[in-house]
């Protein structure tokens, strides 16, 4: 064994859901560790030192958002929260509390694996070390040169648009809440710039997407935020 299998802690109270995740994770080269309650989850999180945590938000003995906050207070272990549709405010709260991404139940195995990969990749990167180039479709964003190209042509983007795009690119594949984006782009004390953010993002789509009505890369996570899909 050259490299130990990444340990994934599954905090989920539904046995069937745990069974599905266990099987899927084992099959795809992860080592699952299971917890059925928030308490157990917190213990396992510090005791087993997992590489990633899958955290269900609807636990019987505690608020999943709290669990995420407590874990994040002690470690940088990536957390992916699992939640049902229609609970968008919970997801936003969890993400703002430190979770890295989310999955809406029911989800497919491919979606799960993609999220795991993105989260682990971001975690593996040493802090501060950013990729210099982010490519998606025929678009290349050069974060050093602060340049955006579509095919061979340079695309003119406004400074704000660029800041948004760069933030998304640095977190490529991961969801960013409106609040996270606004803070990155406008600063912590900018106030509610969400409508501006939406307008700028719409502009970016028109500039970078082939079909702005059905964006492939600059996607909206409805009720939560945005995600730059790079795969």
């Amino acid at each position: 064994m050259a490299e130990p299998l990444p340990v994934v802690l599954v905090v989920e109270d539904e046995p069937q859901m745990r069974r599905f995740l266990r099987t899927a994770l084992e099959q795809h080269g992860y080592r699952p560790v299971e917890a059925g309650t928030a308490r157990e989850g917190l213990m396992q999180a510090s005791g087993r030192n997992p590489d990633l945590i899958l955290l269900d938000l609807g636990l019987p003995d505690g608020d999943g958002i709290d669990v995420a906050r407590q874990i994040r207070a002690r470690a940088r272990t990536p957390i992916i929260v699992l939640s049902a549709r229609g609970r968008e405010p919970d997801k936003v709260a969890a993400l703002d509390a430190g979770a890295d991404d989310y999955l809406t139940k029911p989800f497919g195995i491919e979606e799960l694996l993609a999220r795991l990969r993105v989260a682990l990749r971001h975690a593996a990167r040493p802090e501060g070390a950013n990729e210099t180039v982010c490519a998606f479709g025929d678009v290349r964003v050069d974060l050093e040169k602060r340049e955006v190209r579509r095919g061979r042509d340079a695309v003119h983007v406004t400074p704000t648009e660029y800041r948004i795009l760069a933030t998304l690119a640095r977190h490529a594949g991961r969801v960013l809440t409106h609040r996270q984006l606004v803070r990155e782009v406008w600063g912590a004390h900018a106030g509610d710039q969400t409508p501006s953010l939406r307008v700028h993002l719409n502009e970016l789509r028109h500039k970078l997407e082939r079909d702005p009505a059905r964006p492939r890369y600059l996607t909206t996570e409805i009720g939560v935020g945005y995600r730059l899909r790079v795969d």
Binding site: R85, G86, E88, T160, W186, R198, V199, N202, A213, T219
Partner: protein
Amino acid sequence: MSDRRPDPETLLARAREEERRAGRGHLKIFFGASPGVGKTYAMLEEARAKQRAGVDVLVGVVETHGRRETAALLDGLEVLPRRPLEYHGVTLEEFDLDAALQRRPGLILVDELAHTNAPGSRHTRRFQDVEELLAAGINVYTTLNVQHLESLNDVVAQIIQVKVRETVPDSILDEADELELADLSADDLLGRLREGKVYVPEQAAHALEQFFRKGNLIALRELALRRTAQRVDAQMRGYREEHGIREIWPAAERLLVCIGPNPAGARLVRAGKRMAASLQCDWLVVSVDLPGQAVSDADRAALAQNLHLAQELGAQTATLAGQDVAAEVLAYARSQNVTKIVVGKPTHSRWRDKLFGSTLDSLVRGSGDVEVYVISGDEAEPRPPGRPAGRHSPAREYGWAALVVALCTATGALVFRQLSVTDVAMVYLLGAGLVASRYGRGPSLAAVLLSIACFDFFFVPPYLTFAVTDLRYLLTFTVMLGIALVISGLTLRIRDQAESARERERRTGALYAMSRELAAAREQGDVLAIVARHLRTSFGTDAQVLLPDGAGRLALPPGAPASFPLDDKERSVAQWVFDRGRPAGRSTDTLPAAQGLYLPLVAASGTVGVLGVRPTGEAALDDPMALRLLEAFAGQAALALERALLAERAQREQVEVEAERLRTSLLSSLSHDLRTPLAAITGAAGSLLDEQAPLASGARRELLRAILEESQRMNRLIGNLLDMIRVESGALRTQKEWQPLEEPLGVALIRLGDRLKDRAVAVDLPADLPLVPVDSVLLEQVFVNLLENAIKYTPAGSPIDVSAVRDGAVVRVRIADRGPGIPPGETERIFEKFFRSAGAPPGGGVGLGLTICRGIITAHGGRIWAENRPDGGAAFQFTLPLAGPDIPPPPPLE
């Protein structure tokens, strides 16, 4: 008489009687010939015995009249406190019926059954109190003197020379379960009286003179004994009937009493009762209604009252209609196996019989083996004074009469030269006739006398004197007088008839008008309004209908304005009427102190409500005609109300049936929609797990894909159901944020991804489309549902157009397809819950998608509708307001 009463009839009557008595209290009457014979004493003694035997005895009211022995018997018995009643500044103490009903003793003593209650009591008479106690299942002991019995009323009046006003219906005595006679010989009674044991001494002497004469006492004692004997006899007969002992039955007699529309009938009825009682037979009282016969209101009222009296005395009553009184009566008598007919002596003069034929004569002639008794029917009570016939002031009428005579004289003077004196007399006759036809008896008589005087003075020689030389003229005068009187009498009668016919016509018309309007009324509220309006126009009264709530408590129907205030007292009167189904309040015997008159609205299914009427003018309801008409109104109102209630119930049931149908169809459709994917999943998963028959990898993939797709389908369905529940339960909270429409639409298009891949979806959002304040999650759902609908209902590959425009203060979004369009008449229904168009493809949704859309758009303050495109296909449009009370203006964009 060989016919015997058939057994079944008797048994039926008995069964009805038993049924009536079931649950009723037991009534025992201590009966006596006069005060002082010891009724109260006997009652108290027996009550004490009962109490010793463990019966819960309560003294409701007992008058001791200061007799020590009687008062002593009250010792140890519970006495109900009397109810003080304030009346004209005097405090009267009365039996407290409500307290008694509330206390519910096993046995209650209520002395002096014939007592008249003080004004302000619930009933005018104590026997009504007793009726109510019995109806409540309480046993009652009471006392009664013979002179208070209704049927003996006039006999007693003849004996003691005093008309006793406080009478009690015989039916109470007849229906009493027990009757005990307190008997004392006249000498003993007088002895007790002298010793002061009956009344307190200072009153005794006075009372002696008035009432306690030996002759009186003997006669009264005889009456009491006879009445008791009759009762015992009736009991014996009852016993025999019950036990089938029929041998010694007397031949069944049946007595029929004919009464007419006049007050004299009361006497006939009482006489009939006595005869029937002594013959121990059934008796009937009939009246014949002659069409075209003019009957005054007072007489009509008297007839109704007498028929009522007959019923109270135990007779069966009937009103016959026909042209020939005798023939009708005889036919009815035969049909009822009547053996004896009682009629009143004719009071009119003989010559009328000679002229028009005598009813009595034809009755006797046609009676065959039926015996006919003719008894005196002289008017026992004076006729109430009739209304004056004329309406004009008498002075003016007399003036007109004089003027007519003056004109006749003038005309006579003109023609006298040419014609004979008899022709002049004719002119005067014409004048007298004219006056009689227009004015009352007085003016016509005056006109006749004046005419004769003028005729004599001007036209009969010697002229210009009143002297008459030729005696033949005296005959002329007499004839003139006679003819004028006949004419005036006839015309007056015609006018009276016309008057009363007009009045009847007016009231019948009023009733008819109301019935016609009620027939068209469907809603309870309409019925109530119509009734109130007609009562106001026909009677000049405020009217109000009270309806029971679920618990039987009367209340004003919701939304109905109170036309007169109802305090607790009035309300309790109305409640009493509703509970008992009998009228009460003003102008009745029960609770007459109430401000309003309350009539039960009795329909086929029972009492449906109470009609409260309060006269606005002066005592407009005391006229019996008006009361009867009011009852007719109440009857109509009750029927209409019942119909409205039934219609409402039917409608409610219809709605329930509809809801039930919907529930059933929802359940079946839901269970189908949920089970179908589950069945597919279960089947596929089972096959995959089956190790006996390993599957080829292609087949495995196929099954796995089925599992995945069916799961997704179920997920969508459950999502819809959850959304629906949120919309329905009002839990739909919109979190609006200003955003471009592209975002939710884009997410929807991506979410539908594969299912839209063979479609050309044209999105036309103008670049200058403003930001819209929406809840993106909900709006995305709207887009998804509308697009899914388009996918489901249009042929594969057909295009879908999505567009939005700003339209004043709203943004209008349109999703249009090129499918078959919406079936006519369904553009609105498709938004209904669980509505599925007839052309819906199999495997479609449960019919919630559009309902959810409407819920969401409505929550945004917008509107959603569907229409067909003129060039084919359906278009769904919705608006989203750009401003609203809950939407702050968009922040400035950076």
